[in-house]
Symmetry: C2
Subunit: 237 residues, 2 copies
């Protein structure tokens, strides 16, 4: 959690979020009006946040990871557009966070040191053929791949398909990192490879990170080699 | 800055980093041994951090954004491999941060709500034809694109080429966000489109974010529409 996120929560009148996250937030901040709701009600929560803000209240809408990456920030702007209230967009402040891919990558070592793509395998909001096309593109571009929502109880086919597509372009020994419940109780970090991926359990709490041609194991970690002939002109210190 | 980063700095004996960042760190933490160096000496700093750690000291190596995204985390692991000291990798803790793309996206609205790719246009460590191939892949896959190191004093051709490639697949009206000096003095946020991109100044302190077919303007912000028929099975609350 960032200092800025905590300051934002402290400055709010109302805090809206998934019940489980509000439990985590309560110890950090003072007395607030809390509006918790069960998992899976992102649109309702975003709508409530907008309604409260229009009543003149300062509202914090809590998201995990980065609210702008498959989170609730986009829903708020989509609802404002739906309301014909585009002018209210300027009143929204998006507080960035650490996305699940970055948290998982840090636990694995440094696999995102080179160009990478994040793809959600959830086919509820994106058609499966679009997802496949994106995996094809990632494979062709030798990009490191972070797969969000890789599988659920009812859905495993797209993960198998992703592996097939990647194996058409990458060696079976290409390193794969699996991070389940990153930074939460029950955290599990596994390093395997494309060939052995099917032997491991993958669920909706898992982030799957597939290396590219420059990704190697260094001890118990993964790193994507960049080479490091960095000059002052280009450095990102 | 995250709580965890500050705790890590507080627990360190030695802090190694670019002079400019150490200036920012000093007010937050107590008395430490500081090892500052000019910009562009990432390898030397990483080497120094390893040397100090081998002397038994707890060392914090400071990076901006996320140390694992075009940062110094990968250099440390590469140096350990070069030393034949892979077993020391387990002693390295990578503290994740908020990457420049996520910071820039929050200032722009929520352009990273759908699948996206980050590509560095610096051709010092990646051959220009590999970079072009990755832009082609991103364009073909209708991915939102975050361009790091888009241009420098001596280098502008790849940004022009990236625009040409993207225009082969995307409308000239595709939204583009430019964020210069994100969260720093002199911060500038500009929204334009692929057609008008050449009219704007872009330098090495700028993050260029190119939308995909689902990216729209909502008031003064950008959002990539996902649609939001989220079910409990897939939700990321």
């Amino acid at each position: 959690v960032t200092e800025r996120a905590i300051r934002t929560l402290e400055g709010a009148d109302d805090i809206v979020g998934y019940d489980g996250y509000l439990e985590q937030v309560r110890p950090w901040v003072g007395l607030k009006r809390y509006h918790g709701s069960p998992i899976g009600q992102e649109v309702e929560r975003s709508r409530l946040a907008i309604t409260l803000a229009r009543e003149g209240r300062r509202v914090a809408l809590v998201s995990s990871g980065d609210a702008g990456v498959y989170g609730t920030a986009g829903i708020v702007f989509e609802l404002l557009a739906e309301d014909g209230a585009e002018h209210e967009a300027e009143r929204v402040e998006v507080v960035p966070g650490i996305s699940a891919a970055n948290t998982a990558a840090a636990l694995l070592g440094a696999p995102l040191m080179s160009d990478f793509v994040t793809i959600s395998l959830s086919d509820l909001m994106t058609p499966a053929d679009t997802i496949e096309r994106r995996i094809e593109a990632a494979a062709a571009g030798d990009l490191v791949v972070a797969l969000y929502n890789p599988a659920s109880m009812r859905r495993r086919a797209l993960l198998q398909r992703a592996r097939e597509i990647l194996l058409q372009h990458r060696a079976p020994t290409t390193p794969v990192g699996l991070v389940r419940n990153a930074s939460r109780p029950g955290q599990e970090v596994t390093i395997t490879d494309l060939e052995h991926l099917p032997e491991h359990a993958v669920d909706m709490f898992t982030l799957v990170l597939v290396g590219n041609s420059a990704t190697v194991r260094v001890g118990d970690r993964l790193v994507t080699r960049r080479g490091y002939q960095v000059t002052a002109d280009e450095a990102s210190p």
